[in-house]
């Protein structure tokens, strides 16, 4: 009795200890996470540029400024056709290799009008190529089109919640002149210009890209009501604006090369015809696109196809425009040499045509064609020049008495006399602004880099260098100290600021963040340096890298981090990462086939075996043989070879799926295309994989005889059922895509199905998992020669791993819903990759080595690319946000996009726990030790992502003036930040706080309670 009570007491004590240290570990890791988030925030603050917006409003009408000026139009109809690429509207010869019947020669009206009236010398229309400024997202383009200024990169993130535009803009100017502005179409306008638009306006939901027709039909019927079927005198509006989204949405949904594009364009063409017929003499018609689209139908970047859009101006009056040399309007080679104007030039142009003040922040220049003669042109140019000069002076963009200032001043004086110089002035001012809005805050950047470096050092120290037993003893002193240090440093810094009554560099909020980060750093370093000397730590660092596999891991991490030193490597990262994974797999394959005798990697022997001491060789070999490390038995070698081959084949197959970034050019053929995603072949492959994957997982379970208890239910029923339903969902989508005229509306069915699946996998299964589905079975054998029964627990040796993997499967299912069929194939392969890596690591007994987490991390990057992503903004699959909701709803849309983009990272963040838990029988390690090892492996994963993030910080700063910075390095650095953040969150909160904690508690209760 006494013994039993003792045992119970011991168990209670141990359990309590575990709970305490678990909480402390989670707190500690969260604090490191906070440190990293702060450093990322600092870096982004310094690097992502923001433009200083001036609220001044220009109130001088052109007619007030110049007596000779005459207003050309009273009214205007402005029609914006989203993503109207320039080659959509010009004739393309069907023999041209670029010709495509789905999107060429459908919108013919614009060019017909232009060319026929040109021939008749009517001069009533202009068709120009319209060059947008990057970023080519609709919100930024609308800002540019109405303010005449250059929205900066950081604005790109606010596409999902545009707020009323602050600066002076064309719509505001029109409103101030009491013009009645009717608007219909994309509701981005409503959020930007709401106060200025008439109450009769009719905005439509815009970001639901699956919906191709609602907005367009709305625009057409609105125009029918207010323009086409209305008598001239009844018209209540002065400005009628329409914004159609159909073409853009077809691009996002199907890509330009799809028959739907043709239908949409023909509809647009008819609509334009109707408008042209119905406008009156005093009305100016402007038809334009806000940006183009790339070959996949997406936009956001700055490739030629995304930038080139269309501008068409028309009036019933004859002889209002003056066209230049006809050779300017050369439509050969899809209009490569066609005359182009900047998008911001529209702002002064419309202002001058409609007699409203040119918006204060404008940087554009009136389009040449709008002035009938030289005299008129001079008037226009002088007016714009005054506005530009005023802007330059008031904004203080150029510091007085600098070389640049004198240069501009000189140009300005010249321009006043000779108008032809004025364009140079405008051009220089524009370039100057582009430069200035790329001014970085180096103090913030350095702060961010330094804090991130410290967080990296802390991670390395606590997860690798200091033994995990010591860390678990240290953590209780870390956490309170960190909190105290945060308080102290906040207090110090704020009181210093209070004393000096002045905040250097940052404002109070940023100083608080700074102090918090500083507190965390000091709080971590004090206890460590109290125990260890720096020399010892450095020695440990190299000791840790003394074995073969650690060096391999470190080598590949360094190579991966060095990819950001060149734009070419960054562009080809998708291929290179796959190459690395395969290289590691080849190394393991070599290891299993030849079993070269090398220093043992098990922790016991590190540092003991010395290659120079040849007398001891025999002893050492004996030692190695006795310990459970190398050499491996024949059977496990064979198994190892098999796993390596599985890893190689899966990686190679997955890496054939690619969306190709635009810079890869002809060297890459995209396979992740809309066509392939919804082809029958893909559907068949997914069906086959759907049947095979549960069986292959079963195979891994059977090897450890853990296919017991909950495992068959989970894998054979839940997983199969889910995958079947999921295939059903994507099958419906495929059918929807293939049908030319979908008669049945599948939206409701699809939404219900997707929501059911998400609820099932995210909620039901995780609740089920929380209850503790054990994968063991008790087998009772009757011994022949005795009456006693012997009980064997089947699956005891893998009791942790088998249960933990079920949790990974839950998340895997959630992620599957939000991935397109091709990406699903890649994810199926990913499960096999992960299991193969886990088994290989287990065979080598490298559970403590950095190679495990590092290989998994490489796989997460390789899978990020092979699930149809690239480190660019246009490749984000926005449309998956509408799988479970048909309109933007926080948080469901965001969850969808997040799970789609960071799915592989999430899976890997969870699997890192499996490295420790797989085939880990509960008898050997104490719960606390187990937790310490999971933290250590999770820490390695964080180290990997932190090193990448740090490297991208350093190199993006180094390349800040590089031609490609906004196109290549900056998106990659944003991606590095986001993947670090999501890995942090999942490793700390899900893997360590939730999953491991629950699992270890449950299993220990079972065996020791």
């Amino acid at each position: 009795m006494n013994g039993l009570e003792d045992e119970k007491f011991l168990y209670k004590l141990r359990f309590q200890k575990f709970s305490e240290s678990h909480t402390l570990y989670v707190l500690f890791l969260s604090l490191i996470a906070i440190l990293q988030f702060i450093s990322i925030a600092f870096f982004c603050k310094g690097f992502l540029l923001t433009r200083n917006v001036l609220d001044n409003v220009n109130n001088l009408n052109p007619s007030d400024l110049n007596q000779d000026y005459t207003k050309k139009f009273d009214k205007a109809v402005i029609l914006i056709i989203d993503a109207l690429r320039f080659d959509f509207v010009i004739p393309v010869n069907s023999t041209d290799p670029l010709h495509n019947q789905n999107y060429h020669n459908n919108i013919i009206t614009l060019y017909d009008q232009f060319i026929s009236q040109n021939n008749n010398k009517d001069h009533s229309s202009i068709l120009l190529k319209f060059i947008a400024d990057p970023p080519t997202t609709t919100l930024q383009r609308l800002k540019g089109l109405t303010t005449g200024s250059l929205p900066t990169f950081i604005d790109a993130g606010t596409n999902f919640d545009g707020s009323v535009i602050e600066e002076d803009n064309l719509i505001k100017q029109l409103y101030l002149k009491n013009e009645e502005i009717y608007f219909v179409g994309d509701d981005t306008w409503d959020s930007l210009f709401n106060p200025f638009l008439s109450n009769h306006s009719k905005p439509f939901e815009s970001l639901n890209v699956w919906d191709l027709d609602t907005v367009d039909n709305g625009v057409i019927s609105y125009f029918n009501d207010h323009l086409i079927n209305q008598k001239t005198n009844d018209k209540k509006w002065d400005i009628l604006i329409g914004h159609m989204l159909g073409v853009d949405h077809v691009g996002h949904k199907y890509g330009p090369n799809h028959f739907t594009m043709r239908e949409k364009q023909l509809q647009v063409n008819n609509f334009i015809n109707d408008i042209i017929e119905s406008i009156d003499d005093d009305t100016l018609l402007v038809i334009m696109g806000d940006h183009g689209m790339d070959h996949t139908g997406n936009h956001g970047g700055d490739s030629k196809d995304e930038l080139e859009s269309t501008l068409f101006m028309y009036s019933k009056k004859t002889d209002v425009w003056e066209l230049g040399d006809p050779n300017n309007y050369n439509i050969e080679n899809s209009g490569d040499n066609y005359r182009s104007v900047n998008q911001i030039d529209l702002v002064p142009t419309l202002s001058l045509l409609l007699d409203v003040p040119i918006p204060f922040n404008n940087l554009g220049w009136p389009i040449n064609e709008i002035s009938k003669n030289q005299n008129e042109r001079n008037i226009f140019e002088q007016l714009t020049l005054k506005q530009l000069k005023n802007y330059q002076e008031v904004s203080g963009l150029v510091v007085n008495n600098t070389e640049k200032y004198f240069h501009l001043e000189q140009l300005y004086q010249d321009s006043l006399i000779d108008s032809s110089k004025a364009t140079i002035f405008q051009n220089d001012l524009l370039e100057l602004c582009k430069d200035l809005w790329a001014r970085f805050d180096y103090i913030s950047i350095t702060t961010g880099i330094i804090f991130l470096t410290f967080s990296l050092i802390i991670l390395i120290l606590t997860t690798k260098l200091i033994p995990s037993i010591v860390v678990s003893q240290l953590v209780p002193s870390f956490v309170p100290l960190i909190f105290i240090m945060i308080l102290v440093s906040n207090l110090c810094i704020h009181s210093l600021n209070y004393v000096f009554q002045y905040s250097f560099f940052y404002d109070d909020f940023w100083w608080s963040l700074f102090a918090t980060a500083l507190g965390i750093v000091i709080g971590c370093f004090v206890p460590i340096l109290d125990r260890y000397t720096i020399k010892w730590l450095i020695f440990r660092f190299f000791g840790e890298l003394s074995d073969y596999w650690s060096r391999v891991g470190a080598f590949f991490l360094i190579l991966h981090a060095l990819l950001f030193t060149s734009n070419s490597f960054t562009i080809w990262e998708d291929k290179i990462v796959g190459y690395f994974v395969i290289s590691i797999a080849i190394l393991t394959l070599y290891e299993f086939t030849f079993v070269p005798k090398r220093q043992s990697t098990s922790a016991l022997l590190t540092g003991v075996v010395n290659e120079d001491e040849s007398e001891e060789d025999a002893n050492n070999i004996q030692l190695i043989k006795e310990s459970d490390s190398l050499p491996l038995s024949k059977g496990s070698r064979l198994l190892g070879v098999y796993y390596s081959i599985v890893l190689i084949v899966c990686t190679r197959l997955a890496s054939t799926i690619t969306i190709c970034r635009e810079e890869q050019g002809d060297y890459c053929i995209p396979t992740f295309t809309t066509k392939n995603n919804y082809s029958q072949l893909t559907l068949c492959v997914s069906l086959v994989l759907m049947l095979l994957t549960p069986s292959s997982i079963k195979g891994y379970y059977k090897l450890t005889s853990s296919f017991q208890g909950a495992a068959p239910i989970w894998i054979s029923y839940f997983l199969r059922f889910f995958l079947l339903m999921n295939a059903g969902y994507w099958g419906l989508t495929t059918i929807e895509n293939m049908l030319e005229n979908p008669e049945l509306d599948l939206l409701f069915v699809k939404l219900t199905l997707a929501r059911t699946l998400l609820g099932f996998s995210l909620i039901a299964l995780n609740v089920g998992w929380f209850m503790g589905p054990l994968c063991i079975d008790v087998q009772i054998d009757q011994k022949i020669d005795s009456s006693e029964n012997q009980a064997t627990i089947m699956g005891y040796n893998n009791i942790y791993g088998s249960q933990y993997f079920l949790f990974i499967l839950n998340l895997f299912m959630c992620i599957m819903i939000f991935n397109k069929p091709m990406a699903q194939i890649s994810l199926y392969l990913m499960l096999n990759q992960i299991l193969a890596v886990i088994e290989i690591i287990d065979l080598f007994k490298l559970k403590e080595n950095i190679i495990g987490p590092f290989t998994l991390s490489l796989i997460s990057y390789q899978q990020f690319f092979s699930t149809g992503h690239e480190a660019t903004i246009p490749s984000v699959q926005w449309d998956v946000g509408f799988i479970i909701t048909d309109r933007i709803t926080f948080p469901f849309t965001h969850i969808g996009i997040f799970l789609n983009t960071f799915g592989p990272h999430i899976l890997v963040s969870l699997s890192v726990g499996l490295l420790t838990l797989w085939r880990q029988s509960p008898a050997i390690l104490k719960p606390q030790t187990l937790l310490g090892r999971i933290v250590s492996n999770g820490g390695c994963l964080l180290i990997y992502n932190t090193v990448l993030c740090l490297s991208s910080f350093v190199w993006v700063t180094h390349f800040r003036r590089h031609l490609m910075v906004w196109k290549i390095f900056c998106p990659r650095f944003l991606f590095a930040c986001l993947s670090l953040i999501s890995t942090q969150l999942f490793v700390t909160l899900i893997t360590i706080a939730f999953a491991s904690g629950t699992l270890i508690r449950q299993i220990n209760k079972l065996f020791w309670a």
Partner: protein
């Protein structure tokens, strides 16, 4: 440099695959470390100067990077290298075996067979699956014929001695490292597949044949 490290460790235990031999000769253990039954003499004579010559020709003299022609030049020069340099520096037991002309032919054809797994490996490492198959195979041929002297020696000692592995590893390593230039956007004609990897494996082979005996 992972592979290099591996080479260093092997110094102490030479017969990784040949356990019988090392067990029999436990008495002469120390002697065996200096004079194993099959080894390549540590001599400057094994340096394959012809590889440098071929590379010089390939890069500077021929202006079209004709990989096929290079192969025609490589095979005979490798045979000559084997006969006059490599084989005469290889010591079997205590003697130098005379060149076996049938074995030369056998290993010549065996090398062709070896290209199939090599091609597989090249594709696994990321060469296009279908298109450019001819180029990939040419690369495989080059890589295999670079390893030809080692293949011959491997045959000559009945696949028992593992010291030849290092020659293959050096060639693969050379090719592996040379991939670094492929993604660069320099737009040079020699960046075309498989020229950089061929040059890399030649350099790897040169280093391999020159220094492997010393490791």
């Amino acid at each position: 440099m992972p592979v290099k490290k591996r080479a260093n460790v092997k110094k102490s235990v030479t017969f990784s695959d040949d356990t019988t031999l090392s067990h029999h000769n436990t008495k002469k253990k120390n002697i065996d470390h200096d004079h194993p039954p099959v080894f390549v003499r540590k001599t400057i004579r094994t340096v394959p100067w012809h590889i440098i010559g071929l590379l010089y020709y390939y890069i500077y003299l021929s202006d079209d990077y004709d990989t096929m022609r290079l192969l025609y030049l490589l095979i005979p020069s490798q045979v000559l290298y084997l006969v006059f340099q490599f084989n005469s520096a290889t010591i079997y037991g205590n003697k130098i075996l005379k060149i076996n002309y049938t074995l030369i032919l056998i290993s010549l054809s065996a090398t062709i067979l070896l290209t199939v797994p090599t091609l597989l490996m090249i594709i696994v490492f990321g060469a296009p699956l279908v298109e450019k198959l001819r180029e990939s195979w040419l690369l495989a041929l080059h890589a295999c014929y670079l390893a030809y002297p080692a293949v011959y020696s491997l045959f000559n000692c009945d696949f028992k001695v593992g010291i030849w592995k290092i020659y293959f590893i050096f060639i693969v390593l050379g090719g592996w490292i040379s991939c670094v230039v492929i993604p660069l956007d320099w737009d040079r004609e020699w960046q075309a597949w498989p020229i950089p990897v061929i040059v890399g494996s030649y350099l790897g082979a040169f280093v391999g044949y020159s220094i492997s005996a010393f490791t």
